[in-house]
Symmetry: C2
């Protein structure tokens, strides 16, 4: 099962693709979609939508995983983040992919083993888990982390099914 993790942001949207093969997780690709902050906001949202649609066309993932956000510094940043997230989610569902949401706590627990892990710890653990040559860009690493979280969660569901 191939999973596309997305970490949406109005300036930078990270993405990461992992392939789950039984218990093995194989890194496929990761990167960051940068939007030009001098451009009008609707065009920046379109760039996020288009770039993700192209990534989905190229890698044909089976599922999309996105971090569920409950906090933001203020209403202004929440509005911007929300719009970027809306554009990203619509790209996923328009491609007909099932979409899964995980809280930051679930992602940290899945990757590091406890919910209080720092961003730095997550980045390093993602490098080790996915055998990356170097630490991935911050947003791309967060996207890989939510993909890994979904892989663990989906794997667990499969095992639970097998037991029943």
């Amino acid at each position: 099962m191939k999973i596309l993790g997305i970490d949406p942001g109005s300036r930078v949207t990270g993405y990461g693709i992992v392939n789950q093969n039984g218990n093995r997780l194989i890194h496929v690709d990761n990167g960051a979609i940068h939007t030009d902050c001098h451009k009008e906001f609707p065009l920046r949202l379109q760039k996020i939508y288009r770039a993700l649609t192209e990534i989905i066309d190229e890698f044909r993932p089976d599922a999309v995983a996105v971090e569920n956000i409950f906090f933001a510094t203020n209403v202004q940043s929440a509005l911007k983040l929300g719009q970027a997230r809306g554009a990203a989610i619509v790209a996923g569902v328009n491609a007909g992919l099932p979409l899964f949401e995980y809280t930051a706590l679930q992602v940290k627990q899945a990757v590091v083993g406890h919910g209080r892990a720092s961003k730095d710890q997550v980045q390093k653990m993602i490098k080790v888990l996915l055998n990356l040559p170097e630490v991935a860009q911050e947003d791309a690493s967060d996207a890989l982390a939510v993909a890994v979280c979904h892989a663990h969660s989906a794997g667990l569901k499969d095992r639970l099914k097998a037991i029943r």
Copy 2:
């Protein structure tokens, strides 16, 4: 020039279409897209995107106008509203339409004549201006208001061009 006004919301997204014929404004259609709050949020965003894409396909507007939002009750509602707005905006730009944003102040000034107008006043004024048989549903009325605002603003720009 046919203008599609949108008032995005995660529960209800209003839309309104007006045709600007010289100085005359003719009401074409208005309505509200309701999303099922029992459904998962990504599917609700997809409904907003799809419904607006269908409306654009049917009425073929020349431009889209959306109210620019700076305030929300709290971060939670800003995140939800932002996502709905992101889905709506991507529907517009993906259809290749130019997208214009207006503040609530600009919309009220264009419709009622001053920025402190109440929601009720805007609704009644939209009914009169567009010769509606009755007051439109609140979100649809807000969508018509932003379309009227764009018509006035676009008309003004044309007249300024003509003077120069």
